[in-house]
Each structure stands twice: as C-alpha cells, then as structure tokens.
C-alpha cells in the first residue's frame, strides 16, 4: 500500500510496526506542500496512493473536486475519542472524508533574552520595528501571514472584505524593513545564531528546535492565529482502500498512536492518545497551547476566487516592494 504524506509523520518504525500488526507492507512517499500533492494527483501521477495526509482547507478543496472517498465510518474504530473540536470540524463536517491525525498552530519563535522584550502579538513587533531591521522571518505562505495580521486587527483569518485585507497588507508593507525573508523552513540556523531574532513558524517545527535549545520560546499571538489540522484521507483512485482503513485505524488506536506521537513529537487531536502521553509532552505549551488561546485561533478555509486573487496580488506586491 502506498502512502503519500508529510515528511514528519512517519518513520521506519511505524512502517515496521504497522506491517507486523496488519501484515500490510506500506511504502511512504513524502511531499512538502498541499498544493504539490494536489497537483500531482490532478496530473494523474498519484494513482497508486491509498492514503493521503491533506490539511484542513485542502480536504475541503479536494471534497469539492470530488477527489476523496466518503469514509465508511462503521469501518473506523475510536472516532469518538477525538477531542471535541475535531468531532465535527468545519473543513469536513462529521469527518465524512477525513480523520484528523495531527494539528498545530502558527506563531513566533524567539529568544526572550536576546530580543530584549516579550512578544504577545503583532503589535509588539510593529512597535519595536526599529530594533528588528532585517531580523524577522515570516512563513512563505500568503494565507498564514496575511491571516495572522488580520487576526491582530480583530478580523477573521479568512476575511473576504478586501478593505480589511488591504489594511493588513499596508501594515506588513510598513513592517517590510524588518522582514529578512519569507521562508517556512531554513530559519532555524539563523535564529540559533542570532542573525534572525524572531521567526514566524509552525508549532511542529518550532518545538523541534526548542527541544534542542530550551532558551527559545514559542508563542501564539494573543489575538489568535491559524490552527491547522493534517488529516488522513483516502483518494477516490485508491487501489487498496481496505489497507487504507487499516492504516487509519492504526492511527486511531491510542496504544499505537502514543508510541508514534512520543517518538515524532506532534500534537494529537485524539483525547485517548493525549491521556496516555508522558506528562512532559502533555504539558508542552508549544504543542498544546492554552485552551483560551486556542479558542481564538481559526482554521484556514478556502476563499472565493476573487478574494484568492486579491490575496495573491497583495502577496506579489509585498514580495516585490
């Protein structure tokens, strides 16, 4: 059975233990962006995959494109152990086409001693812009960056009101001298050496670095940011749907999942798995932010074409200015 997944959600041990438990030999290919995965499938290059790991908004998009199989929920065990907010997610009501596998947030990672002030949100960055010239990296994703600033204005992460989007763009444009680069990965060394003081990052990437360098802190802006979910789904073209159900059930099983989550250190949306985690992981605020912060976060949702186009224009302007 062929699996198409993000790089950090599987390892050799998972493939071996899954093989022992089910007798199914899984083979994992990885991708580094939802769009790459979608493009490959649309171009017909993904016919052999039985399992995909699309993120929330991509699930919505792929359901609209009729690329995902509706799940036979009777074949799945342990769905009721999912945390309440993943019982009926907006991106895929009733988990009809996808099962949440991991989740995380987007925030800032920095060294408080080196920076000299504390970050609670975008305002702290804007106010201290003179100390940050060329010292900030932001994620290379229009929706994450504009969305996070939109939240700081009190707007929705998925704002379609173009005036709100323009206001967010103007703020970023004014902040431009502080922005060293838009990179999703590759900021780690520069942050560690102090060449970059603040990096906007996914919680999953941030906690890897924090595990090595405890002086670093990850913070979700108090106005909220994006909360993302990576799910497991079965494409319509899956050659081996039965094995795919076995894979999903393997992930839903708390005993199996707890070993995987402890090893690869990602946040699980499964309450039963969470309860079995070692105490230090449970208390890890990078992986599991405080509930009141999480309540302010939103998932990235697909936008109408006109709005998408406007976001793209602002992004091109921002990266060419």
């Amino acid at each position: 059975m062929a699996v198409y997944s993000w790089a950090n959600y599987s390892d050799q041990e998972l493939i071996e233990s899954f093989g022992q438990a089910t007798g199914i030999q899984a083979q994992v290919d990885t991708y580094d962006s939802n769009e790459v995965m979608l493009a490959k499938l649309q171009a017909g290059g993904g016919q052999n995959y039985s399992i995909l790991f699309p993120s929330d908004y991509m699930v919505t998009q792929m359901v609209e494109l009729e690329m995902l199989q509706p799940l036979d929920l009777t074949k799945l065990e342990g769905l009721d152990a999912l945390m309440p907010q993943w019982q009926n997610p907006t991106y895929d009501p009733g988990n009809a086409h996808s099962v949440p596998a991991t989740w995380g947030t987007t925030g800032f990672i920095y060294d408080p001693d080196r920076l000299g002030f504390e970050i609670t949100g975008w305002e702290d960055l804007f106010a201290n812009q003179d100390k940050l010239a060329n010292k900030v990296t932001l994620i290379n994703d229009v929706r994450e960056v504009l969305g996070s600033v939109l939240k700081s204005q009190g707007d929705s992460l998925n704002a379609t009101d173009l005036e709100q989007v323009e206001a967010a763009y103007e703020k970023l444009l004014a902040f431009k001298p502080a922005i060293a680069n838009f990179i999703t990965n590759g900021w780690e060394d520069q942050l560690a050496s102090g060449d970059v003081l603040v990096a906007m990052a996914y919680s999953s990437d941030a906690q890897v670095l924090i595990a090595e360098q405890p002086n670093l802190v990850y913070v979700v802006p108090e106005s909220g940011s994006s909360v993302w979910t990576d799910t497991i789904a079965i494409p319509k073209t899956a050659p081996n749907p039965e094995a795919a159900y076995a894979w999903i059930n393997y992930f839903l099983n708390p005993e199996n999942a707890v070993a995987l989550v402890t090893r690869l250190r990602f946040a699980t949306p499964n309450q039963a798995t969470y309860d079995l985690l070692p105490a230090d992981l449970q208390a890890n605020r990078t992986l599991f932010p405080a509930p009141e912060i999480l309540a302010k976060c939103e998932g990235i949702a697909p936008l109408p074409d006109a709005a998408t186009q406007a976001y793209d224009q602002y992004w091109t302007q921002l990266t060419s200015a």
Binding site: D195, T316, S320
Partner: protein, 334 residues
C-alpha cells in the same frame, strides 16, 4: 575542452551552398547529388530507392531526438500556450472561454516590476560572469602550462558536482551577519556587510553558480585562438593591449556571445538563489511561475502565460545569437 576546429554553420542563414533549394531539409546528408555518391546510385539502379532513402535516412537519424523534442518540449509548450489563453484557468474547475486576459494581466505594473527585476538579475549576473570569467579562461587557455590545463579546468567546474541547493545554503552560512565573511571583515577591522537577504547576495550566488559555464565556453573559444596572429601582431609592433583589443577579443567574440547567452538564460530561470538568498523583496519571474502553479491561487492560466513569456525571452535571446554570431564569426569560428 577540445572541440573540432572548423565546423560549418547551421541554421537558416547558413552560407553553406545548398543546391537543392530552400525547401529541402538543411541536413548535410547525401542527397544523391553530391560528388561522392554517384557510384552507389548507379549500382542500385532502382528509381524508387533514392526517394525512399532520402526520407528514411533523416527519419532514422533524427527520429529518436525528434520524438524526444516533440513529446517533451513541443507538446508541453503547446499545452502551456493553450492554458495561457484561458483567463484564470484553475485545474479542477471548468475552463472558461479563450481570451487574452492572462496576457493583459501581465502588463500590470506589478508584473512589469517583477520582469524588470528578473532581467536586471540575469543581465547583472551575465556581466559579472564575463568580467570574472574572461581572465580565468584566458589564463587557463593561453598562459597556463599545457599539462595543467585540464586539471585547472576540472578544478573550476568541480563545484557543479554539488547540488545548487547545497551551494545556496553554503552562501547563507558565509554571508549571514554572524557568518564567515563578517567574521573575517571584523578580524580585519572592516565594517560588516548585510548582504544576505539583499540584492548583493543574489548576484554573488548566481555568479558563483554560473561562472563555470562561462569559463568553459570562453576556454573552448580562446583555446582555438590562432597564436600566429598574436606573434604577427607583436612582430609588427603592436602593444600587448592593442593585440588584445584588436586580435584576441574579436576572435573570441562568438565564445563571449555563447557564454553570455547561456549564463543569461540560466540566470533568468534560476529559482533557488533568489528564493534562498534574496530576502523579502526578491520576487522574480520564475518564482512567480511557481507561485501561480503551486501557491495558494493555483492560477495555472496566468502561470502559463508567465512561463511562455520566459520561453519567449529565451527564444529571442537565442535568435539574436544566431544572427549576431553568424555575422561576426564569418563562418569560420564557433
């Protein structure tokens, strides 16, 4: 890199005499009218054989490469052309009506800025490669001892064996504020440079990437230089700089043109260096193409028209070289 010395020109404006008129293929294959083949024609004596042979030989010789070009270059380009004529085409959505909307969008000042930046990066890189590469190629080809030449050349192209991504990351390590360069500058009590995430880093990274190509091509051109002319110039009392400007440089012009063109084309399409070293204001055409195809908008229509623009620019550059290169090389050099 030794090359066969006298090669004939190919191309539409070729000065090679072609007796069978403009409609025949410009292949140097025996067409039956050449002086070397009359015997075989007579001995076969089959009237239909020759026309068959005339068709089959090019087919066998050009077929595999031709198929390759058609399937992997011509068809995809035509597909891009079709997509580019559907405004706002997105995969998975019903395509709209044909129109020139995507090309009209390209005239937006925003995209013109991006094109201008791409051109600046490519032209600047070409100029830097030429200025840095010519002395090296000259030295290896003319001044260095014969037995060292291959080794020197090998040493120069060795960096090409590593991934361009790896080389870009190496430059991050060198150029970043606390990196190797600034440590050295600080040791020399010189002011530090903030080149990373800025335009200098792009020029440094791209020049480093493409310099070996320039040196290789210039070397091939300079190595063929007729040294007797240099001696004759010296005998007739020319100063070294006069010899250089009046003898060496004109003879290596085709090499300069070919090298510059190759570097220009590669730099225009480079994606890795602007992305990793260029910082927050380094949107280029190739990055824009990526953004349209694999970014949030997935506007494949606009992406296709941007791709065709790149292809067109490169095609134009090649056409210019063919014309320009022919005129100056008088058919005996390159």
């Amino acid at each position: 890199m030794p090359q066969p010395k006298p090669t004939t020109n190919i191309g539409p404006s070729s000065p090679v005499p072609n007796s069978s008129g403009p409609s025949s293929p410009p292949t140097p294959l025996p067409t039956g009218s050449g002086p070397g083949f009359p015997r075989s024609r007579r001995s076969l004596g089959l009237p239909g054989w020759n026309t068959g042979k005339r068709l089959i030989q090019p087919l066998i010789l050009l077929g595999p490469a031709g198929l390759w070009l058609v399937v992997l270059l011509l068809l995809p380009t035509l597909l891009l052309l079709e997509l580019s004529l559907i405004p706002g085409f997105r995969l998975g959505q019903p395509p709209g009506a044909y129109g020139l909307g995507n090309y009209v969008t390209l005239l937006d000042p925003l995209y013109l800025t991006v094109m201008g930046r791409s051109l600046t990066y490519a032209l600047g890189t070409t100029a830097l490669c030429l200025v840095l590469g010519f002395p090296v190629a000259y030295w290896i080809a003319i001044l260095a001892p014969q037995r060292w030449r291959s080794l020197l050349l090998l040493g120069f192209i060795l960096p090409l064996w590593t991934s361009s991504l790896l080389r870009a990351y190496a430059w991050i390590t060198i150029l970043r504020p606390s990196g190797v360069l600034n440590s050295i500058l600080a040791g020399l009590h010189l002011p530090g440079q903030a080149w990373l995430n800025n335009t200098p880093a792009i020029f440094i990274g791209m020049t480093y990437s493409f310099l070996p190509y320039m040196v290789l091509i210039l070397y091939a051109s300079l190595e063929k230089l007729d040294r007797r002319m240099l001696e004759a110039a010296a005998d007739l009392g020319a100063q070294p700089h006069q010899t250089f400007w009046k003898v060496t440089l004109p003879q290596s012009l085709p090499g300069i043109a070919a090298g510059s063109l190759l570097v220009f084309i590669s730099a225009l399409g480079d994606f890795v260096v602007p992305d990793l070293l260029g910082g927050s204001s380094s949107m280029t055409l190739s990055r824009l193409v990526y953004q349209q195809f694999l970014g949030a908008t997935r506007n494949w229509g606009l992406g296709s028209s941007l791709s065709l623009l790149l292809i067109g620019a490169v095609g134009l550059a090649i056409a210019l070289l063919l014309k320009w290169g022919n005129r100056d090389s008088d058919g005996s050099l390159l």
